[in-house]
């Protein structure tokens, strides 16, 4: 376990270096003069040149790249036009909101997806199963931002139960969480159903039944131990959805996280900020995946000893 962790964490700087390089290449290929853009629309030619020299944009690309890397190593993401300097502190300010949203989406996924899958499997080919499976198919087809719009229309505008946007206490988190988690809940429910049905067919279940254990007893005592595995798998595979989806949902609900900030950065062409936030997402992706693998090893002993 320890060796595995060391190996995984050692990978982070490597991946980050690779992603930084790709982002650097993508954003250096943006057409237009970066210095003129940073200096603003009313700047004179002298002012533009001054900015060019101050930001080192007159230097060769290779040198700019190395300077960029050296800056990142000490937490300097470069010059953001929005914040007139290093955007890192402002990103850190907004990080808790995004973490709150994604974590509550995962919690809701576990609370809703697993029971739904178990119920569907226990009532296989009867109406609760059909109802749940039908809902799953629907949730996988519905765009999350549209679901969010409908939730806003019904829950906050029509019924007045919840705030429709912004961050005013925990109630504000309900709609974005539901919209973001819907797809994950559907995937977990579907996979849990499959796993439970699969497990129920196995020899040990027949043995348990033969011993005289009731159907429910087998479910509770034996089969349910296995249901955490699909959940963890889904969350691992859907990390990209979770993070990317949070960007869209944050914009829809004006939830003040880093995804919303990234979209603002795109609209004002603050590419330093876009790159910085993209990098934060990549690091989050890696961290979530390491966490998922650790949990996976706990819930699935077969892997631990492999």
């Amino acid at each position: 376990m320890f060796r595995f962790l060391v190996k995984r964490f050692a990978m982070i700087p490597l991946v980050v270096l690779g992603v930084v390089t790709i982002l650097f290449i993508i954003f250096k290929s943006v057409p237009g003069d970066e210095a003129a853009f940073v200096a603003g629309a009313t700047a004179t030619q002298e002012e533009i040149e001054a900015v060019r020299i101050r930001l080192g944009l007159d230097r060769p690309l290779a040198e700019q790249y190395l300077k960029h890397l050296a800056g990142l190593a000490v937490g300097d993401f470069g010059y953001s036009t929005t914040f007139r300097g290093n955007p890192l502190p402002h990103i850190v300010d907004r990080l808790p909101a995004t973490v709150a949203l994604t974590v509550s989406a995962i919690v809701l996924t576990i609370l809703a997806g697993i029971p739904a899958g178990i119920v569907a499997a226990a009532f296989r080919n009867r109406w609760p199963d059909y109802l749940i499976s039908f809902t799953v198919v629907g949730l996988l087809a519905v765009p999350n931002f549209w679901l969010g719009m409908l939730l806003i229309a019904f829950l906050s505008v029509n019924l007045g139960l919840l705030p429709s946007f912004g961050a005013a206490g925990p109630a504000s988190l309900v709609i974005p969480t539901l919209a973001l988690a819907a797809r994950l809940i559907a995937l977990v429910a579907r996979m849990t159903r499959g796993v439970v049905i699969e497990e129920l067919r196995k020899d040990y279940v027949r043995t348990a039944r033969a011993k005289g254990l009731s159907h429910d007893g087998v479910l509770r005592g034996h089969v349910l131990r296995n249901v955490m595995i699909p959940t963890v798998t889904v969350i691992g595979l859907q990390t990209g959805y979770l993070l990317g989806g949070s960007v869209v949902i944050e914009r829809l609900c004006a939830w003040p996280g880093i995804g919303d900030l990234m979209l603002t950065a795109v609209s004002v062409r603050d590419y330093t900020l876009v790159q910085a936030i993209a990098l934060i997402f990549v690091v989050s992706f890696l961290v979530i995946n390491i966490a998922v693998e650790i949990i996976y090893r706990f819930v699935n002993p077969r892997l631990r000893y492999a």
Binding site: V15, G18, V19, I22, L23, I26, F27, S29, V30, V137, G138, L140, A141, V142, P143, N144, F145, W146, M149, L150, I152, A153, V157, R190, M191, G194, T239, G240, Y241, L242, L243, G244, G245, V247, V248, R251, L252, M262, L263, V266, S267, R269, Y271, V274, Q275, A278, F281, V282, F285, L286
Partner: protein
Amino acid sequence: MHEVTPARPARRRRGVNVFLWLGVSLLAVFALLALFGEVVAPHDPNAQDLFAMLEPPSAAHLLGTDNVGRDILSRIIVGTRYTLSIALASVLFAGIGGVALGAIAGYFGGVTDRVVTGIIDLLLTVPNIVLAIAIASVAGSSATGLTIAITASFIPPLARLVRGRVIELAQEDFVAASITVGMSHTRILLRHILPNAATVIIIELSLNAGQAVLIGSALGFLGLGVQPPAPEWGTMLGASREYLTMAPHLVIAPGIAISLLVLAFNAFGDGLRDVFDPGSSS
């Protein structure tokens, strides 16, 4: 010489596969709308009628009108072309790129494999919407930019899938036999390995197409996709946000259109999997 046929599936669904047919028929309807949208649409999708703004559904406008009095039904019908062509184009390009990369990495192994998998693993760490936003902000907000962005986000997972399947197949006896009789690597890959991997690839691509519709409409919604006044469904939803309370019919119709198209691709992919690969229904 015998053609190598894959082992018969252990269990075939009896009768027709409901999912597959649901998917095929829905897709056929959407394809017809995409091809003949202007002919079918009851109104000009861009004709404004300032005396009929935000009208609820009526006999003249079956799905109502939007904030400048354009007929929503006509806009949705004509808009099919944008969504469907972006989804199909990105899936086609991702298919070509992903299959080529995955097949080369999986078949030749060694350094080639390590370089390709390295890049794939790298790109897999960037969430697809984030990658799409980055590319859309550079390539510009247009149907082309959108297609590039979605394609780029689909290639890595697809390449990984193809690589795995090719590595599996390369160990089969028929590949060893082909090498023995002196076939070239290209011929073995194209004629023997890839046809055997085709089902997995097609199933994955049709599920990807559903994803492409979702990502494309999300970017349209965010203003990073097809630009107004083009009647792209996600863009329409983005523009209708302010009218959520006043005129909910603006929001409902495009969302249903997106969901139905995604449902069609998902049902098609799931149906194919049921037919060809009954063991692995997940």
